[in-house]
């Protein structure tokens, strides 16, 4: 079991409420994965100021203020840090590539868990409600958010093993299920030069999707290819700064519901996570079909 919630807002008037709505949704899937959690937020001005790149890191082992100074000095510009407990989101007015390189240099022991111009990734171990507080999630703004509660089955309970997995700029993947052939696919990707941060099966899914996108596939095509290559159980919610996509395996035993209104599209493992959304009474509610790729675009 794991819990997934995601919210893709269409109505800009709701952007200031993204974190509030997402926190309430997250609170309804705690029982599905009480050991750790993570969130991805697209478009929060505190975490990812407009015009800046942002890199999310775990285990920096350096105070946020010091990180700000080190990265700023390295880049010769003003950097900022959003301090979310174990996660720091470093931002600066430069490119993602330049900022990522600078962060890796000044924080050699930290793990990069996300990067992009719009995306912040926050992860931790512990009760998801407590983590949401550490993340400052309820105050978050933006147009899209994803949250995941993990019940670890195939690798250790660590912050690095928490979802989301974000391995390409502004990309994010969360997974409920378990891939059966992830070791085989990981070996194949490693042979092509892809590096991995964890032994987690879901990271293999994220690396696979990122690889397909880098080679020119669109998100729908990348997820179709994932269905062809991956065995096992999965309900996946995959997002970019423009897209919000869902796919389930052929057996489709890992739950998923989508609710849609003119104001938003929301996905959750269980209906109770959707029950508090504004306008849910009039929403169109569907259960995604197995091996069908659903993509919503901004």
């Amino acid at each position: 079991m794991c819990g997934i919630v995601g919210l893709h807002l269409r109505e800009p008037a709701l952007y200031p409420r993204l974190g509030d709505l997402l926190t309430t949704m997250l609170g309804q899937v705690v029982e599905r994965g009480p050991d750790s959690a993570g969130v991805a937020v697209y478009g929060d001005p505190r975490m990812t100021p407009p015009g800046s790149a942002a890199v999310s890191v775990l285990s920096a082992a350096v105070p946020a203020r010091r990180v700000t100074a080190l990265v700023g000095a390295r880049l010769g510009t003003t950097a900022g840090v959003y301090d979310a407990g174990e996660t720091l989101v470093v931002h600066a007015p430069t490119s993602v590539e330049v900022l990522t390189q600078a962060v890796r240099e000044v924080l050699p022991d930290a793990l990069v868990i996300g990067s992009g111009y719009d995306l912040a990734v926050l992860k931790g171990i512990g009760h998801p409600d407590v983590l949401a507080g550490e993340f400052g999630l309820r105050q978050a703004q933006g147009w899209q958010g994803v949250a995941h509660t993990r019940m670890a089955t195939e690798s250790a309970v660590t912050s690095a093993g928490s979802h989301p997995f974000s391995v390409g700029a502004d990309q994010c993947l969360v997974h409920n299920g378990s891939f059966a052939n992830h070791a085989t696919i990981r070996r194949g990707l490693r042979a092509q030069g892809v590096t991995f941060d964890s032994e987690n099966d879901s990271e293999v899914g994220a690396r696979f999707v990122a690889r397909q996108l880098a080679e020119g596939a669109d998100l729908e095509k990348a997820l179709r290819l994932l269905c062809e290559r991956f065995d096992g159980f999965y309900t996946l919610l995959v997002s970019t700064s423009e897209e919000f996509a869902i796919v389930r395996d052929a057996i489709a035993c890992k739950p998923a519901l989508v609710a849609e209104t003119p104001q938003w599209v929301a996905m959750a493992s269980e209906y109770r996570a959707l029950a508090g959304l504004p306008g849910i009474e009039g929403a169109r509610i569907i259960e995604p079909e197995p091996e069908e790729v659903y993509v919503w675009k901004r």
């Binding site: 489709a252 739950p255 269980e270 209906y271 109770r272 996570a273 029950a275 079909e289 197995p290």
Partner: protein
């Protein structure tokens, strides 16, 4: 609605599901109405008395599970495993139902007026299920007894590894599962189908349906394989 006047009202925005279920297990009233289910799990589970329970909204997992004698109506959608392991009574869902509706049910009638998703009636053991819309893949998997009536279409692998459950489908079947075959619709089948449709409140002509059942060719049907 007929019982509205003297029914006990319970608001799940204020009352815990556990408290509701406890009250339903030793009820002082025959009629109950539940507001704000908000997708909560295990609402009206384990009932064992001829009650009527109306739930206004969408319910979560296992609603009306293990039901005996009671009549439970969901005025909304139902999550995973609605009426799972039902023994008797009636459960009606006005909306759609998620996967494993009526799973392992031994008796009673489950009516889903909308669609049911994957594995509807999995391992059914005597329950009758009537679905007004369509059903998902792997429905009636290992069905041992009972009847599954589908007024719409059926998904992949219908009736895989079936024992004695009988399946009636009015629309198309994407594919039949292992050992499931179409069988002739004889007068006794038309009669039982008419009864089931009437009990569920649908007015389709039974002659529009096709019947599916077990070919009894799998390993365990061969007497040489018996212990």
């Amino acid at each position: 609605m007929e019982a509205l006047i003297d029914s006990v009202q319970v608001d799940l925005a204020e009352t815990e599901v556990r408290d509701l279920n406890s009250a339903l297990h030793s009820p002082g009233s025959k009629a109950w109405r539940v507001a704000n289910p908000l997708g909560k799990h295990s609402i009206a589970c384990g009932l064992d008395a001829p009650l009527t329970v109306d739930i206004d909204g969408h319910v979560g997992y296992y609603c009306a599970g293990m039901n005996q004698h009671a009549s439970v109506t969901v005025h909304g959608n139902a999550g995973v495993g609605v009426a799972e392991n039902m023994m008797s009574g009636t459960v009606r869902v006005h909306g759609n139902a998620s996967q494993s509706a009526g799973a392992t049910g031994h008796g009673g009638l489950l009516v889903i007026e909308g669609d049911a998703s994957a594995r509807c009636g999995i391992s059914m053991k005597g329950i009758d299920i009537v679905v007004g819309g369509s059903i998902g893949h792997m429905s009636a998997f290992m069905g041992q007894a009972g009847r599954l009536v589908v007024c719409g279409d059926a998904g992949d692998a219908l009736g895989d590894s079936l024992y004695e459950a009988r399946i009636y489908v009015r629309g198309t079947v994407t594919s039949l599962g292992a050992d499931c075959v179409e069988k002739p619709l004889r007068p006794e089948h038309l009669a039982e189908l008419a009864d089931l449709l009437a009990a569920a409140g649908f007015d389709h002509d039974p002659a529009e349906f096709r019947r599916y059942g077990s070919a009894r060719q799998l390993y365990h049907f061969r007497v040489d394989n018996a212990y």
